[in-house]
C-alpha cells in the first residue's frame, strides 16, 4: 500500500506539474520568492529557540487570516519523519537548509506553511524568518508575481516586517536585501546543449545580471539538461523591473533553444530521432534505473515530444515522472521492499504504458 507521508493533501505543492503554462516543453516552472524578516527577533542563523517559536506562532496567525493560506498546514520540519522532509525537498518546496539535508539537524520550529491547492507557500525560520514563495507551471512570471505580491501584502499588514527606508526589506544575507525577490525559471535546454551553444548562452546570462543553477538550486549539478535561471541582484530596481528583465532574457533563451532544435532536425534528423526513441525505449522497458539515468532519458523523450517526433505522451506525464521517480516519492508508490532502482523502473514503465505513442 502506498502511504501518505504528509498530513493533508498528498499532492500538495504539485499544481505546477499540469504543464498548462506557455512554452511548457521548454520552461517547466516559474518560481518567485520574497525574503522577509520580523523586527524584534534575531535573524535565522543567530535566532534562538525562543525567537523561532515566536516567529512561527506569529507567521501561522498571520497566514491563517490571508486569502491564500487560510487553512494551510504548518509542517514543522523536526516533527516530520526523514522521508517526509525529503519529499518536500524533492517537490522543490523547501531548501536543503530548512530540512537539514546533508546530515545537519533542522532547526526547532523550522516549518513550511503549505496551502491547500494554492501556488503559494511560506518557509519559516530558514536563513530569513519568512521566505514567501510561489510556484506555477510553465513560463508565467506575472502570475507568480501577482500571487506572491498578494500574499506579501496580506501578511505585511499583520506582521512587523524589518524594513529600512534606504535598504528596503532587511535580510540576513546582503545579496537578498532590498526587494528580497528571487525569481527563477526552470528551463529544459537540450537543443543548446547538443549544439554546444549552451556555454555562450550561459555566459551571456551572467553578463546581464542573471545567474544559473542546476535543478536543485544553489550549488547543485546540472542534470537532464535542466537549468534554473534567476536574477542576481535584488536592490536598486523595482520588483517589476527585475521580473521584466528576467522575462525578456528567458524569452530570448526560449528562442535560441527553439532555433537550436530546428538546426538539429535539419542537420541531424536521424541522429535525433534515434536518440529520442532510444530514450523512450529504455524508459518504457528497462527493469532497473537510477534517478540520474531517468532524468537524462526523460530529457531525450521531452525533446522528442517538443519536436513532435513522439506523439501521445503528455508533458504532464513527463513532469510527473520527474518528481515521482525520486527516492522519497517512490516510497509513496510502494516498492514492496524491492531495490529502489527496480521500483523506479517499474513505476516509469507503468506511467508510460498508460499513454500509447505513435511516431511522426
Amino acid at each position: 500500500m502506498a502511504r501518505n507521508l504528509l498530513p493533508g493533501d498528498p499532492e500538495a505543492g504539485l499544481e505546477w506539474l499540469d504543464a498548462a503554462g506557455p512554452h511548457s516543453d521548454i520552461v517547466l516552472s516559474t518560481r518567485i520568492r520574497l525574503a522577509r524578516n520580523l523586527q524584534g527577533f534575531k535573524f535565522g542563523p543567530r535566532a534562538d529557540a525562543g525567537d523561532r517559536a515566536e516567529v512561527l506562532r506569529l507567521a501561522r496567525g498571520a497566514a491563517e487570516q490571508t486569502g491564500e493560506l487560510q487553512g494551510a498546514e504548518a509542517l514543522v520540519i523536526p516533527k516530520l519523519e526523514p522521508a517526509a522532509r525529503q519529499l518536500l525537498l524533492e517537490r522543490h518546496l523547501v531548501s536543503r537548509e530548512l530540512v537539514g539535508a546533508d546530515g545537519t539537524t533542522p532547526n526547532s520550529d523550522a516549518a513550511l506553511l503549505l496551502g491547500p491547492g494554492r501556488p503559494v507557500s511560506v518557509m519559516v525560520n530558514e536563513e530569513d524568518h519568512l521566505r514567501l514563495q510561489s510556484l506555477v507551471g510553465g513560463f508565467r512570471l506575472r502570475d507568480a508575481w501577482r500571487a506572491i505580491e498578494r500574499l506579501d501584502d496580506e501578511m505585511g499588514t499583520r506582521l512587523p516586517y524589518a524594513f529600512h527606508t534606504e535598504f528596503g526589506y532587511l535580510t540576513s544575507c546582503p545579496t537578498n536585501v532590498g526587494t528580497g525577490l528571487r525569481a527563477s525559471v526552470l528551463m529544459h535546454l537540450p537543443g543548446l546543449v547538443l549544439t554546444q551553444e549552451i556555454g555562450k548562452v550561459l555566459q551571456g546570462i551572467s553578463q546581464v545580471g542573471l545567474t544559473f543553477r542546476g535543478l536543485y538550486g544553489e550549488g547543485s549539478e546540472v542534470v537532464g539538461n535542466f537549468f534554473q535561471i534567476s536574477n542576481q541582484t535584488t536592490l536598486g530596481k523595482t520588483e517589476e523591473d527585475l521580473i521584466d528583465h528576467l522575462q525578456r532574457i528567458v524569452q530570448q533563451v526560449v528562442q535560441y533553444e527553439t532555433q537550436a532544435r530546428q538546426v538539429l532536425l535539419r542537420d541531424a534528423r536521424t541522429v535525433i530521432e534515434d536518440k529520442v526513441w532510444r530514450a523512450y525505449g529504455l524508459l518504457r522497458h528497462a527493469r532497473s534505473t537510477g534517478f540520474e539515468e531517468v532524468m537524462n532519458l526523460l530529457s531525450g523523450v521531452r525533446l522528442g515530444v517538443g519536436l513532435e517526433l513522439i506523439r501521445g505522451v503528455r508533458v504532464y506525464t513527463l513532469n510527473r515522472i520527474m518528481i515521482f521517480a525520486q527516492a522519497a516519492h517512490l516510497e509513496l508508490v510502494d516498492g514492496d521492499g524491492q531495490d529502489a532502482d527496480v521500483t523506479r523502473a517499474a513505476y516509469v514503465r507503468q506511467a508510460l504504458a498508460e499513454e500509447p505513442v505513435e511516431s511522426a
Binding site: N37, Q39, G40, F41, K42, F43, G44, P45, R46, E127, R146, E149, D152, G156, T157, R158, L159, P160, Y161, A162, F163, H164, T165, E166, F167, G168, Y169, L170, T171, S172, C173, P174, T175, V177, G178, T179, L181, G199, L202, Q203, S206, Q207, G209, T211, F212, R213, Q232, T233, T234, L235, G236, K237, T238, E239, E240
Partner: protein, 166 residues
C-alpha cells in the same frame, strides 16, 4: 611574462575573470587556488560575488579603524562574525554596520537605495503612508502603460484608501 595572481601575488594567474556590471568591465587575474577560494570555479561559470567581496572588505575597514563599529548591541554580532559567515544577525546590524555594508551593497547590487515596494506597517505613520503611495503610483503608471487595467484599478483603490485615511 607570466602574470601573478591578484589575490596571493605568489602563484601564476591562470584564470582571468571579467565581470561586466553597469557597463563597466573589471578583470581579475587569479591562480586556481584563489579562484576556487573565491567561488570562481572555472567549471561552473557561476561566480560567488559575496565571497569575493567579503574577502576584500578587510581593506576599507582598516582605513576606518578608530571610529569603526564593533559589535551589534542587540544580537552581539561582530564585524569579524559577519566577514566569516556573510550573514547579519538582526535588523539592528544593518544600522550598526551601515558604513561597511554600503560599500558591499554597491559592489553586489550597483547601488544602495531600495526603489521597490514600500512596506506599510500594521499601524502606519503619515510618512509610511506617503512612501507607500509613491511606490503604488509607480506600479499604477506601469500597469496603465501595459494596459493591465484590472491591476490598475486595484492599485488605484489601494491609493485612494491610503489617501482617505487620517
Amino acid at each position: 611574462m607570466a602574470t601573478l595572481c591578484d589575490r596571493c601575488a605568489k602563484n601564476e594567474a591562470s584564470i582571468h575573470f571579467t565581470q561586466i556590471q553597469n557597463n563597466e568591465a573589471t578583470t581579475r587575474h587569479l591562480c586556481e587556488g584563489c579562484a576556487a577560494a573565491l567561488g570562481l570555479d572555472p567549471g561552473t561559470g557561476s561566480p560567488a560575488p559575496l565571497a569575493d567581496f567579503l574577502a576584500q572588505m578587510g581593506k576599507p575597514m582598516a582605513a576606518e579603524q578608530g571610529g569603526g563599529p564593533g559589535t551589534c548591541p542587540t544580537c552581539g554580532l561582530t564585524l569579524a562574525d559577519f566577514k566569516r559567515t556573510g550573514r547579519l544577525g538582526c535588523a539592528r546590524c544593518w544600522s550598526v554596520f551601515e558604513p561597511s555594508l554600503k560599500g558591499l551593497l554597491r559592489k553586489l547590487h550597483g547601488g544602495t537605495q531600495h526603489v521597490g515596494k514600500v512596506y506599510l506597517p500594521p499601524d502606519p505613520t503619515e510618512m509610511d503612508r506617503t512612501a507607500r503611495v509613491v511606490s503604488l503610483r509607480r506600479s499604477l503608471q506601469r500597469a496603465v502603460d501595459e494596459e493591465d487595467f484590472e491591476r490598475a484599478a486595484g492599485l488605484r483603490d489601494q491609493i485612494r484608501r491610503l489617501e482617505v485615511q487620517p
